[in-house]
């Protein structure tokens, strides 16, 4: 439950701010000039704030839509991402956001229309399709009852057929998808890890079974699905664990509903890893068989190759190669 809401002076009268504050009638409301005064300040503890994150309502200025790092995508030539929200209500121990941000508060940029205008500008400027990824610095759907972002995005992307949208989530918040007919230019991508890893590392995330049920419902409704096995997490018996996960997933979902599958090993930029280690020094994941390569912390090369090889082979027993996109970023 959110108990504190900071509101940038610039958006104080924004209708979306009023609506969100009405949904949080008991929360303390505090004015601020710019969200960065709170969110970017040095000398705060992400770990302590994660106990009770506040919500910061703000306006996002340009640039709002950015090119993705090379290698990030699901087959499109032009790939972009945007973040209407910074941070996530879940608490996954491998998540890079904990190492990237100084604060665990949620920052919600309420000027959604400005994001969509920029998307339309970019999509209109090039021939062919452009992909837009919305769940890069957040979960696209987890705070939907509060934000209404996905509903607004779907309504706008319906009128932008050259723009492809990926909503990425671990949640089972399906309301905006249930309320609309499926869109051919939208993929709803779910991140999954094997059951035991979910239990150990993905605190607050709905269980694998609930996510599979949500995906199956979307498939029945005609939505196209993405499967994101990223990050791959090592366990001594990782191959058996991922085999079992894939068997469950592909028994629950019709192949025709699956637009794309991607897979990527656990990796973090060194400064993010160091921050994570400071927050969670007792976390076994961070004490694992890791090494540094070119400023990134990941599993030792030979182990990573073994994991990616075995899990990819297992995955390709279920999905055709043309729908498989290993993560290079």
């Amino acid at each position: 439950m959110i108990t504190t809401v900071y509101v940038e002076e610039e958006v104080r009268e924004h209708p979306r701010v009023r609506a969100i504050c009405r949904r949080l009638p008991k929360a303390v409301r505090i004015a601020c000039r710019r969200y960065g005064e709170i969110f970017n300040r040095r000398g705060q503890s992400f770990r302590l704030q994660k106990r009770q994150p506040a919500l910061i309502l703000a306006a996002k200025r340009r640039p709002r839509v950015l090119e993705t790092p090379a290698g990030y995508g699901v087959g499109g030539e032009r790939n972009y991402y945007f973040s209407h929200l910074l941070n996530c209500p879940y608490d996954c121990r491998y998540c890079f956001l904990q190492g990237m941000y100084r604060s665990a508060h949620y920052v919600l940029f309420v000027n959604y229309e400005d994001f969509f205008d920029e998307v339309a500008e970019i999509a209109g400027a090039a021939a062919g399709e452009s992909w837009f990824f919305s769940g890069y610095d957040c979960d696209s759907l987890a705070l939907e009852p509060l934000t209404g972002f996905a509903a607004a995005a779907l309504d706008r992307f319906r009128r932008l057929p050259a723009a492809r949208l990926e909503l990425r989530t671990k949640s089972v918040q399906l309301a905006p998808l249930r309320a609309r007919p499926p869109l051919a230019n939208v993929v709803v991508a779910f991140s999954l890890t094997p059951e035991g890893i979910w239990r150990d590392l993905e605190h607050g995330v709905p269980g694998v079974e609930r996510r599979l049920a949500a995906m199956a419902e979307l498939a029945r409704r005609g939505w196209r699905l993405g499967l994101r096995f990223d990050p791959l997490i090592y366990r001594r018996d990782f191959a058996a664990r991922y085999d079992e996960l894939f068997a469950r997933v592909f028994a629950a979902l019709p192949l025709a509903s699956i637009h794309s599958v991607s897979l990527g090993p656990f990796r973090l930029p060194r400064p993010f890893f160091k921050n994570l280690l400071r927050h969670y020094p007792d976390e076994p994941l961070l004490a694992g068989p890791l090494a540094e390569h070119d400023g990134m912390i990941s599993y030792r090369h030979e182990l990573e190759r073994e994991m990616v090889g075995a899990v990819t082979a297992s995955l390709l027993r279920h999905v055709p190669r043309e729908r498989f996109f290993p993560c290079a970023a």
Binding site: M1, T3, T4, Y6, V28, I30, A31, C32, R33, E37, I38, R41, G43, Q44, S45, R47, L48, Q49, R51, Q52, A54, H105, R235, R236, L277, R278, H279, P281, D282, E283, P284, L286, A287, G288, P289, L303
Partner: protein
């Protein structure tokens, strides 16, 4: 063990009920400021009025009380407000300095949240109460100094309304000031306990892992090897806290670097096998 608690008040009359509550004893003045200490690593300083005095008192208190790295810091004092009733207490969700325009936002991580207010630190006693603020004279100096010494979650401000448009500050005497603070000792103590719990968590995370002190006392380590040792012992705690360090790791080991290499290999083996 409770984390250290550092309290700042502006006036001796504000200090009196807090000193009694925590059973603090007057020490020799620290840097010219009245200074009190008590059991459980609780310390209090009386800054005198004004934000500069408050900032200087925070630095003095930090050093006089032993420079603990993860202490809970509380500024307790009086404030004026346009219409809020005299005696009401609020925890500051925002502290702004009228002179510089700078603001601090002490994170409010409490469930349920206490009554919260926005504090404006001014140079002189406010009598017009033009804005919706709780007007005080120390909080911005306190936040500026204390947030350099502790994580922002550990720096909290509690203000008690002492005057408003109907009851101007002219009538306040030391007995009234002490009575206002005494009536809010429950809220002060609750905020202190909650903030100390957060401070204890940060202190625990930063504490040396088991065996660190013994090993550093036994073998020779460079500064960088000590950091590596700390990391390796943390890994050990994360991977297999209940497994004792095998005696062969230490057998014949003369230098810290050598022990670190042995630890690394042993822990890698544990990590792959887990």
């Amino acid at each position: 063990m409770a984390a250290p608690l550092r309290l700042l008040v502006a006036l001796p009359a504000e200090a009196r009920p807090i000193v009694a509550h925590y059973r603090l004893e007057r020490q020799a003045d620290a840097g010219g400021f009245p200074f009190y200490r008590g059991d459980g690593d609780v310390a209090l300083i009386v800054s005198g009025p004004g934000k500069l005095a408050a900032a200087a008192a925070v630095a003095t208190l930090h050093l006089a009380a032993g420079a603990a790295p993860h202490a809970a810091w509380l500024d307790v004092g009086l404030a004026g407000h346009r219409h809020r009733p005299v005696g009401e207490a609020v925890v500051a969700g925002r502290v702004c300095d009228r002179g510089s325009g700078e603001c601090w936002y002490p994170p409010q991580l409490w469930r349920p949240p206490p009554a919260t207010g926005e504090v404006l630190t001014v140079e002189e006693v406010e009598r017009r109460y033009d804005g919706p603020w709780f007007y005080d004279m120390e909080a911005s100096g306190f936040c500026a100094a204390a947030s350099r010494l502790a994580s922002l979650e550990l720096v909290q401000v509690l203000k008690i309304v002492s005057d408003n448009r109907r009851r101007p500050p002219a009538g306040l005497d030391k007995h009234r000031v002490a009575a206002l603070v005494e009536a809010r000792l429950g809220e002060i103590d609750a905020l202190a306990r909650a903030t100390r719990a957060l401070a204890a968590e940060l202190g625990r995370l930063a504490a040396p892992p088991p065996m660190y002190d013994e090993l550093v006392a036994t073998l020779r380590f460079t500064a960088s090897e000590r950091r590596q040792l700390r990391r390796q012992l943390r890994r050990w705690q994360a991977l297999a806290a209940s497994t004792p360090l095998p005696p062969e790791l230490l057998a014949g080991c003369r230098r810290g670097g050598e022990l670190n290499r042995r630890l690394d290999a042993w822990l890698d083996h544990l990590a792959v096998a887990s």
